[in-house]
């Protein structure tokens, strides 16, 4: 642990930075202050090395070659799945490796949803959902003539009004699909509390875990979810990659939505039978190198320590919440006020400086933030905002990064107030 920690056991971001070669680069001739990890995390060298090592020493098509190298590739792929499953606290046999969290959520909606939703059935999501956990449900409820209902948000802060779920459960929804951590608000869904309520009302709980898995310890089994989707690149692995965990009986009942090689048991000219378990949903050559990268990302996150990462991020966010109003007095901060209720990010808007102008001005100091609707247009509509600026932190975020952020915000204020 001492490689990345202070003698007191806290994460030392200056040490951690050394693990991420990109943070020493100077895009546009400026030092990089990367505050957009919620969009995609930077990759530690350990992840890139693991991919490189696999491709240079163990590369073959998994599940096919009856030769030693092919077996090595299969072992590497399945070990990587097992490592990821252990990281998330679920059995490897229930973890489907896919191309992205988007693919995972589409699989739930299009496989489970199409088979289980019919006219008049109810699906519940929140008004704050990422488009990836909204549009698949729009599509499948429209096809099935089912109803899509929403847990509303507070018009001012955008906070999700979880106490409204109870009323919606009277409609006996077949499924409730929510983000574990909102990618705009930074708030966590009270999964342990809502899962039993949803189950008691006869429904299932699907969770989009993209913004949670890299920032806090996540044990999927403990969340009470029935489906849990996550993305590899937000954990520091590759862009391609993500997964879906589902309860074994759900996986057993679900039909594949993609068919082809590797997911079959027997194929005849006019029909086919499918493989059992996760393989049924993994048509085509599996992304062995991407999964190896994901396992390496899990290893690295555990080396840093998920509790320590979270504690470090809370320290960084505390400072953002405290100093943002000084740097940009008219900033309207979305999401919970209390940093204890916040994970990984702070979004805000300003009437003085539009989010896009802010991002452009910050870029001049090498500060990279996200500006826009962050794939949550309905939430922004509810708040009557066209765009917000989002600062997100990571284990490698330093006080220098935040200094540059606040200096950039003061630049923006000077430019627009003159």
């Amino acid at each position: 642990m001492s490689n990345w920690h202070t003698t007191g056991g806290q994460l030392d971001p200056l040490k951690v930075r050394a693990a991420y070669p990109i943070l020493a680069t100077t895009p546009g001739g400026r030092p990089l202050h990367y505050l957009d990890s919620a969009a995609t995390a930077q990759r530690p060298k350990a992840v890139v090395d693991a991919v490189s090592n696999f491709l240079l020493t163990a590369n073959a098509n998994p599940h096919r070659g009856a030769y030693t190298l092919g077996e090595d590739a299969t072992t590497a792929y399945e070990n990587a799945r097992a490592r990821t499953a252990a990281f998330l606290g679920v059995p490897a046999e229930e973890l489907v490796m896919l191309g992205s969290a988007t693919e995972a959520l589409n699989l739930v909606a299009r496989s489970w949803g199409r088979a289980n939703l019919s006219r008049g059935d109810v699906v519940v999501v929140t008004e704050a959902e990422h488009h990836a956990n909204l549009i698949p449900w729009q599509q499948v409820t429209r096809e099935a003539d089912a109803d899509l209902e929403f847990i509303p948000v507070d018009d001012t802060t955008g906070e999700i009004l979880w106490d409204r779920l109870e009323g919606l459960l009277k409609l006996r929804p077949k499924i409730v699909a929510v983000g574990h951590v909102s990618n705009v608000l930074g708030s966590a869904a009270p999964l342990a509390q809502i899962a039993p309520q949803i189950h008691a009302a006869g429904g299932l709980l699907a969770v989009d875990g993209c913004q949670a898995v890299a920032n806090i310890p996540v044990n999927i089994t403990a969340t009470g979810a029935d489906f849990y989707a996550f993305s590899a690149h937000k954990m520091g692995a590759l862009f391609s990659g993500g997964g879906l965990w589902a309860r074994a009986h759900l996986l057993h009942e679900m039909n594949p939505i993609e068919t082809g090689g590797d997911m079959i048991r027997e194929v005849r000219l006019r029909d086919a039978t499918f493989a059992e378990g996760t393989q049924k949903f993994e048509a085509g050559t599996p992304d062995a190198s991407g999964t190896v990268a994901l396992a390496a990302a899990c290893d690295f996150i555990d080396e840093l320590g998920r509790e320590q990462i979270h504690a470090h991020e809370v320290r960084m966010l505390e400072r953002v919440l405290r100093e943002l109003p000084d740097a940009l007095p008219d900033a309207r901060i979305l999401g919970p006020r209390d940093v204890k209720d916040r994970i990984g990010l702070v979004s805000f808007s300003s009437d003085l400086v539009h989010a896009h102008d802010l991002a452009t001005i910050l870029d001049r100091r090498g500060v990279a933030i996200r500006a826009g609707h962050h794939c949550a247009m309905p939430l922004h509509e509810q708040l009557e905002l066209s765009a917000t600026a989002r600062v997100s932190v990571a284990p490698y975020t330093t006080d220098e990064d935040l200094d540059a952020l606040f200096d950039g915000l003061r630049d923006a204020r000077m430019i627009f107030a003159r």
Binding site: H354, A355, H356, D357, T360, I361, R364, A371, G372, H373, M377, H380, L385, S386, A387, I415, F416, R418
Partner: protein, 129 residues
């Protein structure tokens, strides 16, 4: 820092703060909304055209970043008296010339929203005629 002061130089900020031709026409020949889906920038462009297809009056309204609103404002100053077909031929070099600065790829869609909405308005007006 020089390039940035170019993009956010005084003239652009003034057009952003006090846009020209901002508001509604009493009786526009055509009124069209333009939106930047990735940013949420919004512009409503209203044109008054005479029988020969000459723009006689213009107004716009909208919300969004300084670049989208200022470039729309700068553009509206140039539209009166011009023929519709002249406007349809304009592209990003013209808008850059109006702004007096090169706009990078991440912001070019903001800069072009005003022109593209005007061109959409002209196409709509033609289809109505």
């Amino acid at each position: 820092m020089g390039g940035m002061d170019g993009l956010y130089r005084q003239q652009i900020l003034e057009h952003h703060r006090s846009p020209h031709n901002f508001g509604q026409l009493a009786n526009p020949s055509v009124s069209v909304d333009g939106r930047n889906p990735s940013c949420g920038d919004l512009i409503t462009m209203q044109l008054q055209l005479d029988a020969e297809g000459r723009i006689t009056d213009v107004a716009f309204s909208g919300r969004g970043c300084a670049i989208s609103q200022a470039s729309a404002s700068l553009l509206t100053d140039e539209l009166r008296g011009r023929r519709a077909e002249e406007i349809t031929e304009l592209g990003s070099p013209y808008v850059m010339e109006l702004l007096g600065v090169e706009v990078g790829p991440s912001r070019i869609h903001c800069a072009l929203l005003g022109l593209e909405t005007t061109q959409k308005a002209i196409a709509t007006w033609r289809n109505k005629a």
